[in-house]
Amino acid sequence: MTAVSHTGMSHHPALRSDNITFAPGAGGGVSMGMMGLGLVLIIATLGIGFTSAGHMPLAHALAAVHVGVMSVAAISIGAMFFLMVFHLTGAGWTATLRRQFENVAAFLPFAWIGMAVLLGIELAKGGVQFAWLNTEHMQNPVLIAKSGFYYWPGKMQPGALPLFFILRTLIYGAFWTFLVTRLRSLSLQQDQTGDRALTAKAKFMCAWALPLFALSIAFCAFDYLMSLDYSFFSTMWGVYYFAGAAFSGSAVVTLVLARLVKAGKVQGAVTSEHFHDMGKLMFSFTVFWAYISFCQYFLYWYANIPEETAFYVHRSGPGWKALGVFLMIGHFGLPFVYLVSRVIKKNVNLISLACVWFIIVHVADIFWIVRPMTYAAEGNDPGLSGIWLDLLGIGGMLLVFGGFLVKKVSSGVLVAVNDPYIEEGLEHRNYV
């Protein structure tokens, strides 16, 4: 039993202890198994890359892990974004859901560790995926013009450390870790004390932190995705990554909530009305993603400037074009038609199905961003061949993330019981 102080609404039948906590140790084995297997898969992927077993280049193995890391990072970023917006807007209906947003966001520092490890490998290997680290590219006039973005205050030369890039990465890590731990600890503290002032503190923090968080997401997307092709640039890149993040983040949180409901927990605290609204959020962000990704494509298609269209040229080769069409249908068309219906949004089983699909298409989206660059320089793009290695790396990262979530969710109180808005959350209904 977890100690929960009984103040305010804690006597509500939906907030009785067995409804909002798991038995001690529940899910521990599953969690350890998933994380262990995930780490083994990631290490195997990197091992295959480093030893060139199966004739797979290191770049391919690194890209596989890169896709996994950036996908789960986006999911946690999305959950974190919603968490902050809910605090800022005083979104009472989310009071019973908020703990799961905190749990999904809690992976963000670990996703950052993944980025840091990848950066470490790139530095040690002198630029495998990060062509701008590679001495072969340092005579490229475009890279010379952009070198300040990576090497400031130093100069770009063989062996030089990209200080500005490393500094930015450190800032993301420190800032994200601070945000996640602070918001979570305020929330968990409130479970114990019922102090309403903690909500005000969280709100104040979100007010100044949200714009900075937005900048950190955009620059992280520039650094770890857009820079894979240093000659490419898109001012919509940050918001493109964010759109996918908000979409997949809400999908994962909804899936967690659905699993809890199916496990007989949070009965009466998370209802079909909440799923209805989570469905609306996902619906809006699948449309937003389509809007942003089409706009980016549209502007480059219209202007037809070589260094801009190169991005889409790389993605029109064998396999990649089909994947692009798959994304148009799978990431926008199907979700749009499916989520239009209220009946589906309110049904736990049907919306769970959608969430699983959304996670798949989100990973496919990041894959479409990262992987076409792997063989781009060779001029002989093998397309989707060797995808087993990608599945290995991505699967490993998703397993680690999943195991972490199982642990986080099953070991704490499932609902922020002393949230000042908890009554609004419990009574939430869509009056239309």
Binding site: F294, Y297, F298, W301, R429, Y431
Partner: protein, 190 residues
């Protein structure tokens, strides 16, 4: 005398047609429970009037969900389809013009207008459909003749059951509203 619904037309002693019966309630809760009783008694042609929206009233009244979204979706698809068709016809059939060296039928260039016309059609359908379903514009409403009814925009809550309802009966309808806790009941002329 039979009207189109197979019911009867009621008139006052003065010969005026009767619109229905209006009942006043003191609190939202009273009105809410009265609405449940009217709903369960099987009335269809009736409404509640309140100074502010009361959450859950649609359930208490047994109001079915509007079909408007279906019409809006159909209109959006029609608008989008027509827009694409129009641009295809203009640029690749009626007046072929090479623009920026791109194909005549460049669907990418047509997406914004397709999107906009989808939005335009659905917005018009939503607005006009809402107006039509609410029977607007309504220049005159019989209830507004009653002095007491003015309080419906202040601090009182009303139910009005129309005489055209097939279940309407001057005595039994009045009795039902009385039992539901009405503080005053009035007959309303057309």
């Amino acid at each position: 005398m039979a009207n189109s619904r197979g019911g009867r037309v009621y008139v006052t002693e003065g010969g005026e047609k009767i619109y229905g019966i209006m009942a006043e309630f003191a609190t939202p809760a009273d009105l809410y429970h009265a609405a449940e009783k009217v709903r369960d008694a099987g009335y269809k042609e009736w409404d509640t009037y309140t100074p502010f929206p009361i959450h859950g009233m649609e359930d208490a009244m047994g109001v079915q969900r509007t079909k408007l979204p279906v019409a809006v979706f159909a209109a959006a698809m029609t608008g989008a389809g027509l827009a694409m068709l129009m641009q295809w016809w203009m640029s690749s059939v009626d007046y072929k013009l090479v623009t920026q060296g791109k194909p005549y039928f460049s669907w990418q260039a047509f997406v914004p207008i397709t999107f906009e016309l989808g939005v335009l059609f659905s917005a018009f359908t939503a607005l006009l459909g809402m107006i039509a379903l609410n029977k607007l514009p309504m220049w005159y409403h019989p209830l507004t003749k009653k002095e007491r009814f003015l309080a419906s925009s202040d601090d009182k809550f009303f139910v009005a059951i129309e005489a055209k309802d097939s279940k309407f009966d001057p005595e039994r309808t009045r009795e039902l509203l009385q039992k539901a806790g009405a503080t005053s009941i009035e007959l309303v002329e057309e």
